[in-house]
Every structure is written in C-alpha cells, then in structure tokens.
Symmetry: D2
Subunit: 235 residues, 4 copies
Amino acid sequence: KTLPYKQVMTHSQYDYVKSFEIPDPCLPNCWPVVRIDGKNFHKFSTTHNFEKPNDDRALKLMTAAATSVMDLLNDIVLAYGQSDEYSFVFKKKTKAYNRRSSKLSSVVVSQFSTSYVYHWKKYFPDLELQYPPAFDSRLVLYPSDKNLRDYLSWRQVDCHINNMYNYCFWKLVQSGLTHVESQERLKGTLSGDKNELLFSQFGINYNNLPQLHRKGTVIIRDKERSTNHLAKIAR
Amino acid sequence: KTLPYKQVMTHSQYDYVKSFEIPDPCLPNCWPVVRIDGKNFHKFSTTHNFEKPNDDRALKLMTAAATSVMDLLNDIVLAYGQSDEYSFVFKKKTKAYNRRSSKLSSVVVSQFSTSYVYHWKKYFPDLELQYPPAFDSRLVLYPSDKNLRDYLSWRQVDCHINNMYNYCFWKLVQSGLTHVESQERLKGTLSGDKNELLFSQFGINYNNLPQLHRKGTVIIRDKERSTNHLAKIAR
Amino acid sequence: KTLPYKQVMTHSQYDYVKSFEIPDPCLPNCWPVVRIDGKNFHKFSTTHNFEKPNDDRALKLMTAAATSVMDLLNDIVLAYGQSDEYSFVFKKKTKAYNRRSSKLSSVVVSQFSTSYVYHWKKYFPDLELQYPPAFDSRLVLYPSDKNLRDYLSWRQVDCHINNMYNYCFWKLVQSGLTHVESQERLKGTLSGDKNELLFSQFGINYNNLPQLHRKGTVIIRDKERSTNHLAKIAR
Amino acid sequence: KTLPYKQVMTHSQYDYVKSFEIPDPCLPNCWPVVRIDGKNFHKFSTTHNFEKPNDDRALKLMTAAATSVMDLLNDIVLAYGQSDEYSFVFKKKTKAYNRRSSKLSSVVVSQFSTSYVYHWKKYFPDLELQYPPAFDSRLVLYPSDKNLRDYLSWRQVDCHINNMYNYCFWKLVQSGLTHVESQERLKGTLSGDKNELLFSQFGINYNNLPQLHRKGTVIIRDKERSTNHLAKIAR
C-alpha cells in the first residue's frame, strides 16, 4: 500500500466479502516447491529469433530472473532451471507469508516476471523486447528429502530428453530437412540412436556439449559469504 | 515450451512426483476474482518519487498493465483498480485453464507484472525504473451476483477511505507539518471532519477532486467493437 | 469429552502436531449438501434377504435414520433419500460447526449410522442384524438455488432409472430367468421398452407403482409445529 | 447400491451437478490419520451412568468398535484410543479409496458408529442404550515418522493429563465435595500436586492405577497370524 501509516479501517456493510477468502496454508514439515513455466514460449522464442536448439542469452536471462527471486525471498534454498521453466525450493520450515500457498506462489512468479523484463536489455542488448510474456506458477509439497531429490531429478531428466531431441531436430533442420522431415526422422528413436545420429552425421559427441544445455542450472545460496549473495553454479 | 513438436515422453523412475500436484479447480457457477496487490509499494513509491497523494502516471501504468491482462485472457469481463491493487473478474462459466485456481491466479499476476515493467517507460519517460517490483495475487470465488457487486463496492469503499485520508495527510505535510504531526491531526477524524479540513484549510472541495482518485478505475470489454479491444472508463 | 469441566491444557512438546490440521471451511453463500451412501449394500441386502426390487422396511429404516440426523442438526432444512443413499441440505447461511466441511460431513454420517443400527429392530422385528454396515459421506457445495434443485432432480432421476430397471430385472428373475438372462433381456432397452415389458409381460402399470419406490422420500422441517418436529412426505 | 449389475447411466440435463464435487486426495507419502471423537459424551456418559472416572465397559466398547474398523479397512496399521476418542493410522502408501480424504474419514467414522451401537449390548448387557450417539471425524496428514510418533504421544499425553485430573476430581466428589468445590480444589495444581493429593488423601498410588486408564489402548495388526486378526494390547 502507498499509505504511509496504517489507519484503522472504517467498517462497511461490504466487509463480509472478505470471509470468502479460504485459507490455504502449506502442510507443515513438507518442502514447498514453486515451479514457474513460460506460457506460449514457442511463439515467444520464434518472435525473438532465439538461437536453436539453445539460446544462451535466454537461458542466462532466466537465471538472472531466478536470482532476483532468491534475493527477495531468503527462505528459498535452491532453484533449478532449464528451458523456459524454473523451480524454487523453500525451506521445509519456512514461515514466509505464514506458508500461505497463494502468497508464496504468486510472489515468486511476479518477481520472476518483472525481473525477466527488467533484465532483458542486459542479455539482449541489440534486440527490443516485442511484448511482455507470461509465466504460470504452481506450488507442490514434497514430504521427504527423497521426494524432493526425485522432483529435481524429474526436471533434470526432462531437460536431458528435451535437449537431446532438440539438438537432433535443429541440426537436421539446419542441414536442410523440413520440420516435418526432421520430426519423421526422429520418430521412435531411442537415446542411443540420437547419440549415434549426432556423432555420425554431424560429428557431435553429445557428452561434450555444454553442461548448461545438457543439465540445466542450479542456484544455491552461498552461506559463507552472505545470506543475500548467491553463488550460481551451472552444472 | 520451446519444443517445436510435442514428443512422447520417456517414462522415468521419477515421474511419480507428478502425483504430488493436488488438483485445485474453482467451484463451478461462482465468479472467480483474482486480486493482485503491490508488495512493499510504500518503499517503491518513495524510491520513484511518486507524487502525493496520487501519481497519475503510476495509476495509468497500473491500468495499462491491467489492460494487457484483459487482452491475454478473454474470459475476464471486468477489472477494477485503485492505488497499487487491481481485481480481475472472470466469467462465471469460464473454462480458461480448466478453472484451475493456481493457473488463473498466476497467469494474471505474471502478465500484469511483465506489462508493468514493459510499459514503465511510456508512463515515466524521464524516470528509470530502479528495480523490479513484485505483486501478489489471490483467487476468491463469489457465488452470487450480489456478492460480486459487494466485493467491488468493498474495494471502492477502500479506495474512497484511503484517498480521503491521503489527501488530508499529504496536504498537511505539504503545508509544513511532519508525518507524525499530520498523523496526530487526523487521528479519530471522521469523513465529515476530513471534508471540512480540506475545505477550510486548503480550499479543496473533496467532491470536485478527480474521479480517478476518488473512485478508482473500471475496465470493461467493449463487445461492440471487438472481443480484443477494451474500452477504458476512468470513473 | 467426558471431562466435567474444561481445564487449561498443559502445553507439551507434542502440541505442534495440532498445526497439521488444515482448515476446511465451506465457501459462504453456498448450499452445503451432505450425501451418505451405503457401502457394499448389495451384499448387505442379500445377507438380510431384502425384498426385491424394494424392501419397504429397509427404506423406512433409512428414513428413520435420516430423521434422527435432522433432529440433531437444526440447520438441515431438507433431506432426500432413495435406495441406500440420503442427501441432507443445510441452510445456505448455516454457522453449524463454523461451516467446517469435515465436521458437517462426519457428524451427519455418524448420526445416520448409529441411528440405522439403533432403529433396526423396529423395522426388522423378526430379523437380527447380522453385522454393522458402513456408509460413506461427502459434502458438496451448490452456489445457486437452481443448482440445488438440479442436484435433487439428479438424485431423483437416478431413483427413477434404477427403480424401473430393478422392477424389470427382479420380475424377470422371479418369473424364472437367471440373473444373466434377465440382464441380457434388458440390455439396450429404453424407458418405453421397460414400461411395455412390465405391462405386457407382468400386467404392471409402472405409473401405478408406489410413489415411495418411483420417487424416493423427501423430509422437510415443519416450522408451523416446532423446529424439532419433522413432517415426512413420501412422494 | 442394491443394483445387482452396473448399468449404463442414461445422461440427463442434471448430470452437470456432479462436477461440483471437488477432488480431495491425500498428499502422497504422508501418514493419513483419522481421529473420531464423541459428540456431547459428557451428557451421554451421564445418561448411561458411566462409572467415574473411567468406565471399563465403555472403554472396551470403544475398542471393540475400533477393531471393527480395522477389520473393514486392511490399510489401517494401528489405532490408539482413550476416553471417547480413537485415532486410526493408515499405511503411508495406502491406495484405499484412491486416498480420497472424505471417503477415508467417513467410512472410518461410520463403521465405528454402527459398531458402537451393534456391540453395545455385549458390554452393557443390563443397560439399554437410551439414544444413538454421534461421533465426528477428521483426517490429518503427517509427513514424517517422527510427526506420527509425536501425534500419538500428543494423544497419550492428553490421556494422562485428563485421567489424572479426572481421578482427583471424582475422588473428591465421591468424598463429599460438590463439583464446584472439587474444581476449586484442583485449580492451579500441577502433576506432582495431584499425585500427592491422591496418595495422601485417598491412599492411591497413581502409578499403580490400571494402564488402560493411564495410557489408553493401542490396537495393532497381528501379521503373524492373519491380516484380518488383530492383537489388542492395552498398555
């Protein structure tokens, strides 16, 4: 609020509508994880001519926005990002916003969103942002440490599978195939087939590709230096 | 996703974590209302030297961001804004995002957030945005038309009360009183007292102040022209 | 509790587990409806040799149990029952148990359950109850009066369809067909076909069958006489 | 349902009301605990002249009803009861009723309720049940084993505190004091004071009182013998 000082509210006949707000606290002793995800980013990446299969500027902008979220919310202990999504892990015992699910979820996605636009020009100095994109967010609770690790593994496996497919697809397209032909060529291929295709046809050893593309980005809080300073680790 | 075509996911041992996402559909036949609200906007308005008690540029930027939300989501029929908050009313029968509460709430606040930063320079051409602000959002369901009208009245009464207080407060400050003295002067005053203070001390007739300040802003969809074009009505 | 007077609780290191109870208030201004439903009542009706297709003693016992629920909870304005299910409609503005969903739902099904066993001997004086049956319950919110009427119509259409099918099925079985043969005979038949079958083969005019079987039972509160006395209307 | 075979439902204009049922699955990998609790059992125990401070017949009837619940629901691994309440712990990974919270909670309280009345005459052979009582139920999720243990400790501490108070209170009443006088005598007393009062005034060594009264009852499933047979351990 822009009010300098909190004043006592006059009660009106309309105040009863406040009672329609249903409480939504997170179950205690669970890891709250907020995942944000780009809406219609296929169109967004096309409009802004993102490099294929990965645009390092776009990935770094995502990480800058995620870092801004962690700067705002000290109870986020770790973030993991890939492609147009980022997951934020809150402390199991966080009391932030009284663990209200809608608050945690909305503040994360809002801070991420404003930061994405705010930092755009730093990562795309020569490219004007054409329109403001949107992200969605959801909050999921993970009861055990194993569940949390498996969640992060789930997102990293997703990164790996999509990245391998995308490398093959765009290399085929760049070699002259149409989108449909490339898609047909990859239909039914397994991981080994794609490795082989990249190596035999394009001389690419998948395991030598940048970790940033194959594994995504983890952001952790560097407690040694300060609670507000973050060490970024691209794995 | 930046994937050009949806591929069949390989199933992994980690997929089970998806089952921790609990469905959160809105109850049918209720008006879903998403309200966004600025976080720490007292500090934000101070940092950016917002004019007191109202900064028309800031209010118009809020409305530009809200319009962007209505452009994105056709099922929003009406928006009401004042100060650093905006409420978005979805059609009672909206099927947008399968009525998933977290989707509706997060996409609204995210589109609002990116648009706020994106349009900043249009409304503050001479003032650099110092840092990306954040908004929170919540979704509330209103079963009857009367409940919805009362909700909007509730927000508008809030606008009126805060605006009258703010006008008095800042006029007192601008006349030389400290913040504390102004606050003391207004303690316990009723609406009539504030009207009198404005008139006798500053020659201001409250009812002649801009409707934009006293009543807030309503955005409605102009069905006559196009479903995508919005008529903005500042009351 | 059996404690005569509430004493101040000593606080222990375990009290924190209370915080895992998540609030579950009903949205205001909606009709809370609790429906109870017999578990495994096909087996229960077979074990107790219920008359087919309808056992009036069993139906009346259901209504006695439902009446006991309405005697306990004054905010229930209407109940509708058929077969092994009963629906209880609370006042839209009920404050009973602070509108806590789990309380409303559990007290209804519990009072229904104890009353079912308690009143058994009155309706089955010559038949010992072989084992205690179970019912489940759920609470559903209906925002508008039309939704509530449609809910009741939905249950009554269900009554009608099941009753017509059951009459045909059991008349065929009683005429010598096996269960499978009767089922085959009815496969794909429409309402008109079943009417015709009952009339031509068994001389039964469906519309002359007891309203209790065709339409179910409505229980309303007789405000004229007393808030605790109920008028039972079998339609 | 009493329908012998499931038939294809005819669709009606009212079927849409089914969509108002909101899913309520338990979060995976948490211990679902259902606690049932007697409603107005002070009145119930007075009406039926329960012995004070503990009526062993009433406690054993509670345990018989709880055992009936465990016989019905194989995924309950443990139950703990004291006074007029019982807690049922489901397996962390139970799939019973698809983990639907309202189903688990309602079937437990219903089976408990019917069994309580059904078994009444066995434990009170000379005392007619005067009216059918009601219980409420709630389902709470506990993420970790420690949380579950602490939950059970919480209920057992509650048992201990109430039991010690009740012993003192009723001994004082039986010695001639009024209810109000007994209450006054105990006001502000700590555990040690009550121990001393019992010993010095009534010659009772609290630690020699029956474990059933001091610690409550645990029911565990005896896997050695059969999944349906339960070993009852009164601690």
